[in-house]
Symmetry: D2
Subunit: 292 residues, 4 copies
């Protein structure tokens, strides 16, 4: 078993909507507050997207990222801050001519998806390796464009967290190690439950784990109702854990999570019930070789 378990809280994401839950943090202030609450409940790291404060829709606005980060750092210097680089990767084929982008397409130059990383230099930036169906949209991250994003992340001295949505993404991960784009030991997440990628199960966790490079620090997490079962499963298989309103909105059947902190507290309870010990932010920094 891993000596200490890192809880990451993904506080808002971009798939959860305000219509789904009234408890979703929207403004930078709310996002920072959610992050700080998660930290108090036991999260060593927070994964952050930003939203437009008016519409609540996903945003890539650098000022929002900066505002959220500064608000967190003003109160907590240890908490690991992980910023997403996911937005800007979606393509919606037109029904009559699928090679033409339809509304909803967000695909943009890879360098434009990591501007905030170069500027804000968080501890960690995610790097999605998936090209897949995601609902009615297609997520496209070509190997070449992943390399271009990784170059910016590496140049900023930021540690990438590799997001793995299916087994082929792990094959790409290995090729990126082989060509020097990624330098080990890696930090990886196995995302389960997006349709159509890895689906949550003990088998998936063990299979995905078997494909990871030796020495990888990894987290397997599930979306929706698989969120808490996969907290247990990831820990039992040797991984770290992740929860948060990005991944699920219910604390238990029929009960909306009122805060991200409540989800972290529940994840912590699960891990501790089966014998794990939670990492503080400082311990997590040591595990992940981040600046302390």
């Amino acid at each position: 078993m891993q000596s200490r378990v890192i809880i990451t809280c993904a506080v808002t994401g971009n798939q959860t909507t305000p219509e789904m839950t009234p408890h979703l943090p929207i403004t930078p202030a709310q996002i920072a507050e959610a992050a700080l609450g998660a930290a108090e409940a036991g999260a060593a790291a927070v994964h952050i997207h930003v939203r437009d404060p008016q519409s609540g829709k996903p945003s890539m606005e650098i000022d929002h990222y900066r505002d959220a980060v500064e608000r967190i750092r003003a109160k907590n210097q240890q908490l690991i801050i992980n910023l997403t680089t996911g937005p800007g990767g979606r393509f919606v084929p037109s029904p009559d001519d699928p090679k033409v982008a339809a509304p909803g397409t967000t695909l943009m130059r890879p360098e434009d998806r990591v501007t905030h990383i170069a500027l804000l230099k968080p501890d960690i930036a995610t790097l999605d390796l998936n090209t897949m169906n995601s609902g009615k949209q297609v997520v496209i991250n070509t190997p070449e464009n992943v390399r271009r994003m990784a170059a910016v992340i590496n140049a900023a001295g930021v540690k990438p967290e590799i997001e793995l949505f299916d087994s082929g993404d792990i094959a790409l991960c290995r090729d990126l190690i082989a060509d020097g784009t990624l330098k080990g030991p890696l930090l990886c997440s196995v995302v389960m439950g997006v349709k159509y990628g890895f689906q949550p199960s003990p088998e998936t966790v063990l299979y995905a784990r078997s494909l990871l490079p030796p020495g990888t620090a990894w987290t397997a997490f599930g979306t929706g109702r698989s969120c808490f079962p996969m907290v247990a499963q990831s820990y039992l298989a040797g991984g770290h854990v992740r929860v948060g309103l990005e991944d699920a909105i219910f604390l238990e059947k029929g009960v909306l999570a009122e805060t991200n902190a409540a989800m972290v507290a529940k994840a912590r309870n699960i891990v501790e019930s089966v014998g794990g010990e939670i990492a503080t932010a400082q311990q997590a920094r040591e595990i992940l070789s981040l600046a302390v």
Copy 2:
């Protein structure tokens, strides 16, 4: 163990090029000859793409499909004919604006990808469920477009062979069963070795198998040098087998396969060496509930 093992021969494909091997069948006559030779060597089914006779490049020309099919049927009425529907699904993002299609893009209306199926009514038509990176290109098969292709295949009374390139494709397959697009028992292929999808290994075969609906007839096959190892592995795990110049060009290390028949003969030898019995075309038709 499966009572009888179906060998499918994929005689030409569209990724293998004449520059890679001089033995690739190009014209409809050559493709038919390859299919008939494969049948004599033990294949119960052939999987067919067509090519432009002049350039050798992949083609979607219906006349070539018709020519190949008629040449096969003139000499062999039992052999199961399986036509591809893969072409027409590739998107190449422009380097400077990835939402704009660059040269190499072949993406087209789904109905246009199955015209030959409606006209020629082969025994089987493949139905690719993958959206993924495939080399420097992106293959896009959205759930909606897969449904549109399946509608044409179903209306033609043709059995779809579901092509699964990664675990998420199997999740899509299950959703397509749930909504009635696919009717069981299914015929599925697990494709291993395309970058970036399933990679060939015993673990992959067992994991993919665990995700298939009960009662599925399935084949796991590997590309390149994993071709023959995965013949053995698929059989040992309860599956059928596939070989052919679409998947690999070498018969053994350093020795190009001179014919598809030679690859079938080798696959047959492997299966028989480990205790399997090969299905005749007629037996395969019974196993797959095809017209006899």
Copy 3:
């Protein structure tokens, strides 16, 4: 996921000793009290061994079994009572001539190991299929002797719970189904952590599960510090759960469990935290096709 999760509490066993924990129930009255407390905390079934009230050592005395059962039944008619048939199966080879039984040997005629079952007709009687090293002793349950014990259990109208300590035991289980000794659907336990049998891990649970006959109701449980992790793992893999002072003495690191009920409560919390619902005794009787 299983619709309802059966918690079995193994309240005293025969490997735990009073020297290891002061909280071990010894007398029939203590054992009954422990069983009833476990039931109140959420256990639908109790697995019972008896002990000599003076020495605290394992006993096969029928009066003790009867006393314990009657005390339970006086207060709770629904709780599923599962009596062990394990004692009487140990052989200790002499150091100088290993074919001669040394002190510690308890091996006896199989019929003598199930006398209490024939007399008391509990809901369930365990049936151990293991022949293995168990510490410095050898447990011997030959196929023939298992058949003789099963004949008595079957004749009493008692449902056997098949105890599986390693993969070969499952092969024996399948042979016992084939020859009619066991009639499905079965109730099986996968015991992990005895040296030298199955060791606790997610892989072991999945592998053992893959070997069970279809339709089997099963519980995988671990001994010692694997007790609570395996509660989570068994549930996540589709199984029921078991805890109790027979299997482990600590509630958490450094904290002895003061009661069996406390262990049940903790197991219940784990299962519910990851989305499971506990079966009442009555629901468990329906799941296992026991008299209601």
Copy 4:
């Protein structure tokens, strides 16, 4: 994949009987001849039991071992010679009082089971870690007695080959490493098909492999009709291979193997068909760190 595949031929064993096949080598001369023939066909190692030349029954006679070894060494100095230490470990419980040994019991002092190893100093001696049902008999190898046998093998400078019949044996193996009885890197065999131990399947090979200490050279092999399928499976999972009349008597369905060499030739063909290269005896000595 392993760089070179070691074929071991188990030429006679003690479970196969002359009644089962007329081709079983019986006398030391026949055993030596079988070993030399296997070597010519591609075996790098031979696993040897001896038999009583008159009765054909298993023997522990040192003169027979010496005779067989000398006959082999007279013609082939490179072939790896592996002598069994299995005989002397069986216990047959009496029907009426199972703690009393019945006829058929062979259990003896552990030191007496390895006398021939101390005297003849073969390259390798097997060391069985199993306590299990084996047909109607019980095989008993207690941890203590295994340690006593290992002490003699180690003192003779002979490399032990650890025989693993079920997962608990691998747990014992790990404890024997921890206490210094076994020194790595190990040579292990995973025996599949004995009732009641590991049963042959891809899952068993992968599960057993997952339990082995890192760096272990291992062979998984199957008995009876699983013999050749498990040759393929062991190779595909990264293992070496073993065949021979000890494990199976048929070359294919209905066709008795006339020689051990024929079985080796078939195994070699399987391995080479799926891309493996066979190790010479000298290469095998390097892989196993044996005297060259």
